[in-house]
């Protein structure tokens, strides 16, 4: 099987804090990490390869330093990685990102399975996965919490999808794009040997010239949406600490909650 995982480098939002005085993002010590959902995507690609054979390709689009997330993917066992990086891709919204990624996947060749995380933790849109599937003309299965089976002879996959009120068991022909949730697996850690190998690896970079794209559909200009304003929300101030004995504070708390007229 030829499997592609799409991953993104994101700021570790654990470290993102708002300065209460200036109300801007505090950036000191903000590390860049692989989007957590994408770690599950790479792991699922590796597990699928181990079970059914094949090769795992990992792609990311981003600035040159995004190469770090590809090194991590190499260190845990990805066979091929590619950085899609060009100033002309900067400012891409979800439409332009999906368009560019889809062309990179086409360049990799006929694939059987594309795996994405369900969303990235910086943008939280969950739109790029469905966008890539649509651009590739592939069916999509989103919010996958388990791959039940892949039938390579009949080119079919059966998965469990995590919906609000239960699990949907769905099947699709291959090739297919799936987006995965956290429950699907436990991402492995890189071995020392893997880290050493990844550190020495030459990672190919694809620029806009390397992809058969319509340049007008890339980057900021190709993006239907644009951000016109960024602001920090009103900080949610700490409220009232109800001090004293529980015998007094519990009825007081209930009084306050009943005032909201939600509990009937």
């Amino acid at each position: 099987m030829k499997i592609v995982a799409c991953i993104k480098q994101v700021p570790d939002t654990t470290d993102v804090r708002i300065d209460p005085e200036t109300r801007t993002l505090v950036r000191e010590g903000v590390e860049s990490i692989t989007n957590p959902f994408d770690e599950y995507a790479v792991e699922e690609a590796l597990l699928t390869k181990e079970k059914y054979g094949g090769e795992v390709h990992v792609i990311t689009m981003g600035p040159p330093q995004a190469i770090e997330v590809l090194k991590n993917a190499l260190a845990i066992g990805a066979d091929y990685v590619y950085l899609i990086s060009d100033r002309a891709f900067a400012g891409s919204d979800t439409w332009a990102t999906a368009y560019t990624l889809a062309h990179a996947i086409k360049k990799i060749g006929p694939v059987d399975l594309v795996v994405c995380g369900k969303q990235a933790i910086d943008g939280d849109t969950a739109q790029v996965g469905p966008g890539v599937a649509t651009q590739l003309g592939m069916p999509q299965l989103t919010y996958v919490s388990k791959v039940r089976e892949i039938d390579l002879d009949n080119k079919r996959i059966v998965v469990e999808r995590m919906l609000e009120d239960g699990k949907e068991i769905a099947q699709s022909p291959l090739p297919v794009l799936i987006t995965v949730v956290k429950d699907i697996n436990e991402p492995r850690l890189p071995s020392l040997l893997g880290i050493k190998k990844a550190a020495k690896a030459e990672i190919p970079t694809w620029t806009i010239e390397d992809l058969p794209v319509d340049k007008a559909k890339c980057g900021l200009e190709g993006s239907p949406t644009e951000v016109v304003r960024i602001f920090t929300p009103e900080p949610r101030g700490g409220g009232e600490i109800l001090g004293g004995e529980l015998a007094e504070t519990i009825p007081l708390l209930i009084d306050k909650l009943m005032e909201a007229k939600v509990i009937k």
Partner: protein
């Protein structure tokens, strides 16, 4: 290609832009600011520069897809399951009414399914002037191919200015596909929508970076302008049984053989987890200490008719299934009341719940970060406080 232009003469080196940039893309080189390759052209620096030394240059080009001047009306996607409309769709009809009012146009529902005319009538009672309806056995259950084909057909034929969807799993799966097909913009998970009084464009405001920043987004040259909106952001409108409305039917352009995926089975979860719809959520964290101990959390949730949530710590410990996880790698919720029991309130947990109307924190540790965002806090042992709350609510509510 776009460029960020910095007027080195005008730049006073005040560093206001450096502070503002969410992407760490601006740095000082001597007395003036320079831009590095991390820039995403978000424009935050342009707005903040006191001397207008920064400008965003972008090549103007015509949009594709629907012609701008042909488009009118606000549409709401009417999501339903087995003939029952999702609450978020009603909420969006209420908000859509306001947007249509600001634009002076009609509000329409977009409905797909099998034998769902009753839903169309229901949408009209909740504010739709028209409902564009496609019925087919192929649409009995939601599947991306079938629903997207139906929606793209309706949108291309009737050319709405704006289409809004609930940000449910279905809405997000669906809207992303429809927008890609139409080559138009889609803004995810909006918490605010309004019409710019001058340009008449839809201003779409949404949280990013785990809710640490808000962004307002426009879709200027592509139509329709599309957004998904989280449940419970907007209020339920009043129902009016006497409202008239029109139903416009169109055929589904594809047949069953063109739908690639198939639903084999649906396993409803034994316990009602539906965190998205719950008005009240009672969540347990590390402080709960074990799976059996989640009983105290469940009892309180039951008395309040609420759902049970959990922090990542409790899920990773195996005390409760992942479906219950609230936070960055779980679900984002917005109930009226969120009661956090034994949850310290990491930034990742906060990302999933801090827009709840009322937050109650019960924790032994007075220094726990959860108290910084809680509306009401009780410093104490959850195993004493939560059962007392349950009992007292039972007494008051007569349950």
């Amino acid at each position: 290609m776009a460029r960020l232009l910095i007027d080195e003469e005008a730049c006073t080196g005040c560093e206001a832009c450096v502070e503002e940039c969410p992407y760490v893309a601006l740095e000082m080189k001597g007395d003036v600011v320079t831009v590095n390759e991390k820039c995403t052209f978000c424009g935050a620096c342009v707005d903040v520069c006191p001397v207008e030394a920064i400008a965003l240059e972008k090549e103007e080009r015509e949009g594709e897809g629907l012609d701008l001047k042909d488009c009118k009306d606000v549409w709401v996607f009417i999501e339903h399951k087995k003939g029952k409309i999702a609450n978020v769709s009603f909420e969006l009809l209420g908000e859509g009414r306001k947007l249509a009012g600001a634009l002076g146009c009609k509000l329409s529902g977009m409905l797909l399914g099998e034998d769902v005319e009753e839903c169309a009538q229901e949408a009209i009672k909740y504010g739709a002037d028209k409902v564009y309806l496609t019925e087919s056995p192929v649409l009995r259950e939601y599947r991306t191919d079938a629903y997207a084909a139906g929606a793209v057909n309706l949108i291309k034929r009737h050319k709405p200015e704006i289409v809004i969807f609930g940000a449910s799993t279905q809405g997000r799966d669906f809207a992303g596909t429809v927008a890609t097909n139409l080559y138009t913009g889609l803004t995810a998970d909006c918490t605010g929508l309004d019409i710019d009084p001058e340009t008449k464009l839809l201003r779409q405001t949404r949280p990013a970076f785990g809710g640490n920043i808000m962004a307002t987004i426009l879709c200027q040259k592509h139509r329709p302008q599309m957004a998904t909106v989280r449940p419970k952001v907007f209020a339920m409108p009043e129902k009016d049984d006497s409202r008239p409305g029109e139903i416009i039917r169109e055929q589904l352009p594809i047949g069953e053989d063109e739908v690639r995926t198939e639903i084999l089975e649906f396993l409803k979860v034994a316990e009602t987890v539906n965190l998205m719809d719950a008005e009240v959520i009672v969540s347990g964290g590390r402080g709960v200490g074990g799976s059996d101990d989640f009983a105290v959390i469940r009892e309180l949730a039951d008395v309040l008719g609420g759902a049970v949530g959990a922090s990542r710590a409790a899920v990773d410990a195996g005390w409760i299934p992942y479906e219950h996880q609230v936070g960055q790698t779980g679900r984002t919720v917005r109930p009226k009341i969120y009661i956090a029991c034994g949850i310290s309130g990491s930034i990742q947990h906060q990302a999933g719940m801090k827009t709840s109307d009322i937050i109650v924190a019960i924790n032994k540790d007075p220094e726990a970060p959860i108290f910084k965002i809680a509306t009401y806090g009780i410093v104490g042992d959850l195993f004493q406080a939560v059962p007392m709350l349950t009992q007292e609510f039972k007494n008051r509510l007569g349950r």
